[in-house]
Point group: C2
Chain length 356, copies 2
DNA sequence: TTGTACGCGTTATCAC
DNA sequence: GTGATAACGCGTACAA
């Protein structure tokens, strides 16, 4: 709290140090401005008065907020699952934060929750120089509306011809590589896929990659995933039970993400089925837990942090050159072979890159 | 990008809908203002023009940014360790974000990195209505200076008589409870503590709790931790090797956090020592991975998300009543008994609460 | 090198 | 229910 009462302003600092507000303004912006004595005097009074330049006034005058925004979907609603893992979103936030902070901008984050959905988004849009919007947080219509007033970069949205910059991960290629490994290195021919929530573009792309790999190997491609697990541990467990009860005896179950696979591992243990001996299991994302479960999970590493970094970088380029043509960045994944696929303790079937 | 060129302003909307700016301003703020026809007309033109109210102008006029800030220390510098885990900070951020967003405020986050340390902090301070500052991100002096211009809540700082609101976790009691369990339920009498980084208040408090429990049981209290592990997996592994090489044969090693304990688990496996049969190991924090390692880690659950929630809540109270007396919130931890302490698969020594 | 004066886009106050 | 007008605190031509 301010000591006296009213907060200090640039004018107070100026008067108290016997210079004009212009001088004060310049001194604090430009570390090489003015005579040494003036500088010192100004800086000193500013400190004495506890003056912190008002960001709103600055932003208004300079037409630059010095803030980039990040909008993401509310993950809490899927249930208690959010407690569990080092979420995707956290990593993205950290990546974004890093790039932004190093460039001297702060990051404004907000989950778009059900209630004041649009209101919040618009409010955020008004406060930032640019906005990164994660898939599934806003309707296309709202995104378009917002994009009229502030530069927007889309994150992990469904690939398609949009008019906005966007950055995503090559989910399809990642799934293809993973499945090809299961088929070629292990000789599995009976594979099923467990998807994430209904509308997830990530899940859809991974399933597409799954199918492509089967096709490339001359195996029949399913029209639909064998089950849906909502990207949660709980959902993965449920899906696994369903498959087991249906008498499905797939040799390998390819889960749309790690959390579902981890949930399934528990179910299989209880059912006295050994992984990978009886049934192989794989995930996707390579979350921190993946290497610690038993058996360690074979999965596809997704550069989540880099996703956030690139998104903000893209935003900065756009801010720099507003007129440049739209850009799309596709980040690549890589296969992380551990043991749940059937690769044993030491250098078994798979000859390629293994985790160091 | 704006379609025409210049962004729409409230004035443009006002003129185009034949009303004053005052009316436009009220219509968008107050969902029950004006005649229905006026409302509709204004809202319609606003949408057509793609007008998004300028946050800076709003903030300047209303003396309220609608933003709360969160400053945290840069964790990247400790090395690659940051990649590994569902960090503490992430949870705090999520908690803060949730409470703030539900109250209609956005959250501005920034890691305080080495370089423009203070500059960034001050810049953030100017942009927000209030600030949550995590321990070890800023010097006491800078904190004091910033607190003169904007309400500040300290997070997890060392308990002591400061003049600022603050929220923390009762690390000491948590450690005490954990160690008492090791002594009473398992009969261990030869325990050592591995600390975090040098200046960490969390680590210091946990060590204090460790000592108190030993004292209460009539066991000798060490003056210093047996080793230091920097709160990282790597560091924990190193510390464990050190203890082993020194010929230390403690019956139980109490690590200052989970990550170090997890690092140690690997070392013990390589050394052919069985946990908990040969040596018991415990952590602190209850990060997501803790339940998945083998053996599952006995640890102390720390309500990290709640920490963030409470901090923002405290900030809001302060904003509401600037003159109220300073408040301190101490959140309690709870013991999470799994297997690394010696409690077996099913209801062994420990009769109290177990993980459900 | 330093100062004057205006404008940034919105809200609050007061009048009608 | 609606409008005119004065702040809000700072940056920055432009002038000196």
């Amino acid at each position: 709290m301010p000591s006296g009462g009213a907060k200090a302003t640039i004018r107070a600092v100026a008067e108290r140090s016997g210079v004009s507000t212009t001088t004060v303004s310049r001194v604090i912006q430009d570390s090489s401005f003015g005579s040494t004595s003036t500088r010192r005097r100004v800086l000193k009074t500013a400190a004495e008065l506890g003056w912190v330049p008002n960001g709103a006034a600055r932003g208004l005058a300079s037409r630059k907020a010095g803030i980039v925004g990040l909008l993401f979907p509310d993950l809490g609603q899927s249930g208690a699952a959010e407690e569990q893992s080092p979420l995707y979103v956290d990593e993205v936030i950290r990546g974004a934060e890093k790039v932004a902070t190093l460039a001297g901008e702060a990051v404004l984050i907000a989950a778009v929750r059900a209630a004041p959905r649009r209101a919040l988004a618009y409010s955020v849009a008004g406060k930032v120089d640019g906005l990164v919007i994660m898939a599934r947080s806003l309707s296309d219509k709202d995104i378009a509306a917002i994009a009229r007033s502030v530069p927007v970069v889309l994150l992990a949205a469904k690939p398609g011809r949009r008019s906005l910059d966007h950055v995503a991960v090559d989910n399809r290629a990642g799934a293809r590589e993973l499945v090809a490994h299961l088929i070629e290195a292990h000789g599995y021919r009976d594979l099923v896929f467990v998807s994430g929530p209904a509308g997830s573009p990530d899940s859809a792309e991974r399933f597409a990659g799954f199918c492509e790999a089967l096709g490339a190997a001359g195996l029949p491609q399913p029209a639909l995933p064998a089950a849906e697990g909502g990207f949660t541990q709980e959902g993965g467990a449920k899906a696994m039970r369903l498959l087991l009860n249906q008498g499905q005896r797939a040799r390998a179950v390819v889960f749309g993400n790690d959390e579902m696979a981890i949930g399934a591992l528990g179910v299989l243990r209880e059912a006295d089925l050994r992984v990978p001996r009886d049934i192989a299991v794989t995930g996707f994302d390579d979350i921190a837990i993946a290497r610690h479960v038993s058996p360690p999970l074979t999965t596809v590493h997704q550069p989540m942090r880099e996703l956030g970094e690139q998104a903000v970088q893209l935003l900065f380029s756009r801010l720099r050159e507003p007129a440049s043509s739209r850009r799309a960045v596709l980040l690549s994944t890589h296969l992380v072979v551990r043991e749940s696929c059937g690769c044993g303790g030491k250098g078994e079937p798979y000859a390629g890159r293994r985790e160091r």
